[in-house]
């Protein structure tokens, strides 16, 4: 697990490039995110936003550059010295990426079994707390495919939180939701971010909706170059 030191950025990318075969997905990106920040990452489709998140999570290996988390080098060209599961990062995937065969409670159980040393009873009450956090009480036995878009996103959020991450990577979390539900989920993210002292990197293609909860917005251009930050 990455130790948390004061005054170092939670996420630091230095000249990061990721390629897939002959295609360059992101090129030469440098980026620092301070602890506790909520940074919006915006840009057109195909500009490499998701790839950047996956590189930070350790799911892809950089072709050049480095990723450091809380001051510790986590990815270098060609390998990931800190494996994804040990980085203290969790990700909310586009579309939720929920496990179709598991129930709501089963999904959280899957995480808690692997991330905590709680016994079965304690896990049960933890699941209750997590579901309360995301407003899914009473959904325990429902299976993932039977949830609505908003419910699915909330379960995905609960799944990410169950692992007690320090860094939360959000990939278009508001995508499938209508306007009122977007606002509700944003409120919850804002609330939870503060409560768990999370550093959040939040990918969206529509910065206006989320700007009210963000500390800063970075835009990324086609071809995977950072264009501007403010």
């Amino acid at each position: 697990m990455i130790d948390q030191q004061q005054n170092v950025p939670a996420i630091s990318c230095a000249n990061l490039s990721v390629t897939a075969g002959p295609v360059t997905l992101i090129r030469d990106i440098s980026l620092d995110v301070a602890q506790g920040e909520h940074v919006l990452l915006v840009g057109p489709s195909g500009s490499g936003k998701t790839t950047l998140l996956r590189a930070i999570a350790g799911l892809v290996v950089p072709a050049a550059g480095e990723v450091s988390l809380f001051g510790r080098i986590a990815s270098v060209p060609g390998r990931t010295p800190v494996p994804p599961e040990d980085r203290g990062t969790q990700m909310m995937f586009q579309g939720g990426a929920l496990w179709p065969h598991l129930s709501v409670a089963g999904t959280l159980e899957f995480v808690l079994k692997r991330r905590t040393s709680l016994d079965s009873k304690a896990r049960g009450s933890r699941i209750g707390e997590l579901l309360e956090l995301v407003d899914l009480e009473g959904f325990e036995t429902r299976r993932a495919p039977s949830l609505s878009g908003g419910e699915a996103q909330r379960l995905a959020l609960a799944r990410a939180l169950a692992a007690e991450p320090r860094i939360l990577l959000l990939d278009e979390p508001l995508g499938p939701l209508d306007a009122p539900r977007r606002q509700a989920l944003l409120d919850r993210l804002l609330d939870l971010g503060g409560r768990f002292d999370l550093t959040v990197l939040h990918v969206t293609h529509d910065p206006s909706e989320a700007s009210r909860i963000a500390t800063r917005t970075i835009s990324i251009r086609e071809g995977g170059r950072l264009a501007a930050s403010d």
Binding site: A57, P84, F93, Q94, G95, W99, L102, F110, R159
Partner: protein, 613 residues
């Protein structure tokens, strides 16, 4: 509506032969009740256990194998995956023959093991497909939580229903086989299965109702096993794909890679390479070429044979000696080496120090004896068919055996290929129509089960039904022609084709058909110009699967006049009296022709075939 003519065709070639047989049940109203005695039920119970055992073995091998070759960085995964299909195409009895040549183990467990190995591709094919359909993001979510163990645990849960579906098919194949248990339990306690009851009842005439009735329990058991499979499929549990799917990458196994590779190579070696390799070894006269058996034999007999060289009896006279395979071989080897030594020939393998001189009882080998001279001449001369010679001789024999097998069976091979080609080509359009109806019409499930009936009844019953139906004045010419064989095979295998095609149609969006309809396409146009192009890899896969099954088919075909000119028929005919090298070469030729279209496809086309239900 388009499906009516196809349905009619299926009724004529698939269901009518069954109907004419099942009508006979009326002749003896007690025929079914007579089956319910303790003995028959015992046989059924044992058969079910055997089926479960085989399915378990298939699952234990097939699930990891299918997953590893489809999803991980095991080296040569593509080749392993292709080789992993071979066992299901080779008749299980051939697998049993080669296994028992190599292994001493026998009995019910061995039956389950061989049937499991023979049918594991059913599990691994389903597993591979399911594993490829896991969205990469779902896997990454697990990865972030618990690394590789969490990914594997998630994947196991996601592919398990599909793998179980494959295991059910393995169960079905296992319970319908009787030659294999009979063959494998030849040494040790006899292991009888229900399919043997079916076969022997057919021998007794005057009890036809009874013979038809014996088929029913197996049919019921088979349908019972198919039902969960169809239900799983109906609920789309066998597939985990959805809307905006992102294909997963290969999982890096790290230090487990070598273990996984060893496992996969071992499975393929045992289930595919061993049988084919052994056949090739036999085809080249391997046992003779590499042991030089006749020289050793002659020398051995000259030395007095068993009488002079048998070890001193311990306890009872002759049978009391240690007759375990190893002890036996050691004794024979030792004495033969002694005989060879005294004949002035090279002993085999073992150093002379280990040869007990007393074994020969001081008898000298008469080198001038005609049989010794002939054996030595054979080793040195051109006639090498019967002794020693090593690799060059082996290659020569191999070539000769193949040439002979090809020459003698050229016509049979050609007619097998023609029959298989026609069967597959006729099944395909029918299966497209019926498979579409299975998915899109209200009574689809019923149609699906009905289409499988000709395959799940004993082959004898279906074959005789076809004879009864078609041996008429008006169809006399047809009855004697290969057309009847094609008809028989279409009836028998159409259900499989329907099963595969309907699976593909399930994943084909109905909206595409609706838009074609609005654009003015009729039912034929929609099905063949819109749906078919959309599922073409499945259609090609179906064609190849039916082709392979048609070449393999034997049991039903053996009854039908025109079918005895097929290559498979010739192999089993020659098994009894043919020389082993010839039979093996013939069997290899048949296996090659079974694999031919699939191999050609993978050579020339990059797209992966789909032939899973």
């Amino acid at each position: 509506m388009l499906s009516w003519p196809a349905l009619g065709a299926f009724m004529a070639v698939g269901l009518a032969p069954l109907a004419v047989m099942f009508v006979r049940l009326q002749e003896d109203p007690r025929a079914i009740a007579a089956l319910m005695d303790e003995r028959t039920l015992g046989l059924l119970g044992r058969t079910t256990l055997l089926g479960c055992g085989a399915a378990l073995v298939a699952l234990v091998i097939g699930l990891p194998f299918g997953f590893l070759v489809a999803r991980t960085n095991v080296p040569g995964a593509a080749a392993l995956r292709t080789l992993g299909v071979v066992p299901i195409l080779v008749p299980p009895i051939m697998l049993a023959m080669t296994w028992t040549m190599v292994l001493d183990a026998r009995g019910p467990l061995m039956c389950a093991l061989i049937l499991g190995f023979a049918t594991f591709p059913l599990v691994s094919l389903f597993t591979s497909r399911a594993a490829e359909r896991i969205d990469t993001r779902r896997e990454e979510a697990a990865r972030l939580i618990g690394g590789l163990p969490a990914v594997l645990s998630l994947n196991l849960q996601l592919v398990l229903p599909a793998a179980l579906g494959g295991a059910l098919l393995s169960f079905i194949v296992a319970i319908n086989d009787f030659a294999l248990p009979d063959y494998v339990s030849a040494v040790g306690r006899k292991f009888n299965v229900y399919a043997g009851e079916v076969f022997s009842t057919w021998q007794v005439d005057g009890k036809e109702a009874r013979a038809v009735a014996t088929a029913l329990p197996l049919v019921a058991l088979t349908l019972l096993a198919i039902t969960p499979l169809l239900m799983l499929r109906r609920r789309d549990q066998l597939t985990t794909i959805d809307g905006d799917f992102e294909a997963p990458g290969r999982i890096q196994l790290g230090r487990w890679r070598s273990v996984a590779t060893t496992f996969c190579v071992l499975v393929v070696a045992v289930a595919a390479i061993l049988p084919i390799g052994r056949l090739a070894y036999e085809a080249g006269g391997g046992p003779r070429v590499f042991s030089g058996i006749s020289i050793r034999r002659v020398a051995w007999l000259q030395g007095g044979g068993a009488a002079a060289n048998a070890p001193a009896p311990t306890g009872s006279p002759a049978g009391g000696q240690d007759l375990s395979k190893a002890a036996r071989e050691a004794t024979v080897e030792k004495s033969q080496n002694a005989a060879l030594l005294s004949a002035g020939l090279e002993p085999r393998a073992q150093p002379p120090a280990q040869v007990a001189p007393s074994a020969m009882r001081n008898r000298a080998v008469d080198l001038a004896a005609p049989e010794v001279a002939a054996a030595i001449a054979a080793r040195e001369g051109d006639d090498v068919s019967d002794a020693g010679g090593g690799i060059p001789v082996f290659v020569g024999n191999l070539r000769a055996a193949f040439a002979r097998a090809f020459e003698l069976s050229r016509e049979s091979l050609a007619s097998s290929l023609l029959i298989a080609l026609l069967t597959a080509s006729i099944c395909l359009p029918l299966a497209l129509v019926l498979g579409h109806a299975v998915r899109r019409s209200r009574r689809g499930a019923l149609l699906q089960v009905a289409s499988l009936l000709p395959l799940v009844v004993p082959a004898t019953l279906f074959g005789i039904g076809t004879i009864v139906l078609w041996n008429r004045e008006f169809s006399a010419r047809f009855y004697d022609s290969q057309g009847l064989v094609v008809l028989l095979f279409v009836g028998r295998f159409l259900g499989i084709a329907v099963l595969i095609v309907s699976g593909a149609i399930a994943s084909y969006s109905v909206r595409l058909e609706e838009s074609a309809r609005l654009a003015g396409a009729g039912p034929i146009g929609r099905l063949f110009m819109v749906v078919a192009p959309g599922i073409w890899p499945t259609l090609v896969g179906t064609w190849i699967a039916i082709f392979a099954l048609s070449i393999r088919e034997l049991d039903a075909a053996v009854l039908v006049p025109a079918a005895n000119d097929t290559a498979m028929f010739r192999v089993f005919n020659a098994v009894h009296f043919g020389r082993d090298d010839f039979v093996s070469a013939l069997a290899l030729l048949v296996i090659f022709s079974i694999l031919l279209p699939g191999a050609l496809w993978s050579l020339f086309f990059r797209a992966r075939l789909r032939f899973l239900p």
